[in-house]
């Protein structure tokens, strides 16, 4: 049985169709990339799955539960966590306290939440930053803290929204190692939105491509890279026509 199943999902904002008839499923243990040009509806799809947006129609099943109408906190408690593309680090929580918020989802005890958070921070090689405020960190470190916080909720599956956006190659390397750690060592199923192709193509078992709210392709990274529909979505119809010979 699949861990996550999305059937014929539609999402409209007023008259705007952000997601149209999207269906896919994820097996436990997979690492799936979700790509597509800006405005393709990737983040909207995440928001629908995570319960932040009510869906217009369709069905979402997670781990045997129908979560279509669930609130975000109920989805999280079932073990489906997510990170956010833009993290507004305005608050006065330190790195340790941030991760503790995640850990508090599974325990009432402060000491248990704290020791679990410390262990996760050591795991993520962030322990030396424990007492910093999020706003004092680099963007790369902030993103890793948000991943650590999500892992604190002890999820079965994690939705990562653009964790590598705006980072330099070294930092992308670090983030990739963190994602691999989450996927391989912690055995968490991962679905990630990413624009950094080098990262998606490198670590994904499978890639799903959205364009203008629709799913246009799905498959392993190599197939996707040669798919004319995908190339069309990214580079335009003319490019495909002119380079028809090279694209086999």
């Amino acid at each position: 049985m699949a861990l996550l199943e999305v059937h014929a999902l539609h999402k409209e904002f007023g008259g705007l169709k952000a997601n149209e008839d999207i269906s896919f499923s994820l097996e436990a243990g997979e690492l799936v990339g979700l790509i597509g040009p800006n405005g393709a509806g990737k983040t909207t799809l995440f928001n629908c799955i995570a319960g932040l947006h009510p869906v217009t129609s369709g069905q979402i099943l997670f781990n045997g539960h129908n979560i279509t109408k669930f609130n975000a906190h109920e989805v999280a408690r079932l073990g489906l966590a997510r990170t956010f593309q833009v993290y507004v680090a305005s608050g006065d929580l330190t790195v340790l306290e941030n991760v503790m918020v995640g850990c508090f989802m599974r325990t009432r005890s402060r000491s248990r939440a704290k020791s679990r958070a410390e262990q996760i921070l050591k795991d993520f090689k962030l322990y030396n930053l424990s007492d910093y405020l999020l706003s004092e960190l680099t963007v790369a470190a902030q993103k890793r803290v948000t991943m650590a916080t999500a892992v604190g909720t002890d999820p079965k599956m994690l939705l990562l929204d653009e964790v590598a956006g705006g980072l330099n190659p070294n930092e992308i390397e670090e983030i990739m190692a963190t994602i691999r750690h989450i996927h391989h060592d912690l055995e968490i199923t991962v679905m990630l939105i990413e624009h950094v192709m080098e990262l998606v193509m490198n670590i994904s078992d499978r890639v799903i491509v959205l364009d203008s709210g629709r799913k246009i392709s799905e498959g392993d990274p190599n197939t996707i890279a040669r798919d004319t529909n995908v190339i069309k979505a990214y580079l335009g119809e003319r490019y495909v026509r002119e380079h028809a010979g090279e694209l086999t």
Binding site: G91, V101, R110, T153
Partner: protein, 335 residues
């Protein structure tokens, strides 16, 4: 028990803070032994009361970032419950106070449920509105004395009456409210590091992130609002026995709501010591302004102008108040 241990655990504060806090506590305990005027004593009692109001406000307003400008309605519920029960049925303070808290918390659930569907300024305005509506209801409700209010006549009691909290000398009131003051600090010290406290701070940071971390945002706010309400109602009950003559017009006025919020905002919203620092500045200021400026120059209302200026100053310079400045300086030093 872990909760009890955490409540008394102040170890995350620097040593200097704890020394200052201990000296301040010692001063508060010894204060009646020093020669003092009755005006100074009354100001000290006001200071302790408003510190407690501020501590309550700070749970939802400071840690949770939900600016609540309607706390006076709960002062009223506490004060009028205790007064009515004392005057009509001679009910002891220690019984009427928890009953008042119960009524206040129930009321807070009823209005909190719809109120927390609103955010930011809309929430703040709605809290003002509900408070004013309740005041208007009390002003025409004969059972609670309507606009005349209620007067507890001390004649039928033999002071010092610890059961009904009727005393002749202010020193008794001082120590009762000081006891609540210390309990309040211990409670908030537990709260700020409890699961609920962390949830509130996360909500203040970013509600969508909080929700995706499994936090039922709406319910967490309602729960914390009820905690803040319980604090305010308790002090309201005390206020009834201390003042002995309460009217909706001054017990439940908008000034009280604003002053309560101001304690924490000036001292430092979202910090343990903030409301106490705020009250230690604002209450003497308020007493001074009322006693001297107001009476002599006939400048009634100048206190409100000054509070308004303080609100603007705090939000422009450092939204986290005086304590925010202290923390900023400390962070800079550590780097």
């Amino acid at each position: 028990m872990e909760a009890l241990k955490n409540a008394f655990d102040f170890s995350d504060f620097p040593r200097t803070d704890l020394i200052i806090a201990a000296l301040a506590a010692l001063f508060l305990l010894m204060f009646p032994a020093f020669p003092h005027s009755s005006f100074a004593m009354a100001t000290m009692i006001q200071f302790l009361m408003f510190s407690l109001y501020g501590m309550g406000w700070n749970t939802i307003g400071g840690y949770g970032g939900q600016v609540d400008l309607g706390k006076a309605q709960y002062v009223g519920i506490g004060a009028f419950t205790t007064s009515v029960m004392l005057i009509r049925w001679n009910v002891p303070f220690w019984v009427s106070m928890p009953i008042g808290m119960f009524f206040a918390v129930m009321w807070s659930f009823i209005i909190g449920y719809p109120l927390f569907r609103l955010k930011g300024h809309y929430f703040a305005i709605a809290t003002i509105a509900t408070s004013l509506v309740l005041k208007d209801i009390f002003e025409v409700w004969d059972f609670v004395g309507a606009a005349r209010g209620l007067e507890i006549s001390p004649i039928k009691f033999k002071p010092p009456d610890f059961l009904h909290l009727i005393f002749k000398e202010d020193i008794y009131y001082y120590y009762v409210i000081l006891g609540f003051f210390f309990l309040g600090i211990i409670y908030v010290n537990w709260f700020r590091r409890s699961r609920l406290g962390f949830q509130l701070r996360s909500i203040k940071d970013n509600e969508d992130i909080a929700r995706s971390l499994g936090i039922n945002v709406h319910w967490a706010k309602i729960k914390t609002y009820a905690i803040a309400t319980a604090f305010v109602s308790l002090v309201g009950s005390f206020h009834a026995c201390y003042i002995k003559n309460i009217e909706p017009e001054d017990t439940m006025s908008l000034d009280i709501s604003i002053l309560i919020a101001l304690m924490a905002m000036l001292g430092g919203a979202g910090s343990l010591w903030g409301p106490i620092i705020g009250a230690s500045i604002l209450i003497p200021l308020k007493s001074y302004l009322k006693e001297w400026l107001g009476a002599q120059a006939g400048l009634v209302g100048i206190d409100l102008i000054i509070y308004g200026a303080i609100i603007m100053l705090v939000s422009a310079v450092e939204p986290r108040g005086i304590w925010g400045i202290v923390e900023r300086v400390r962070r800079r030093k550590r780097r």
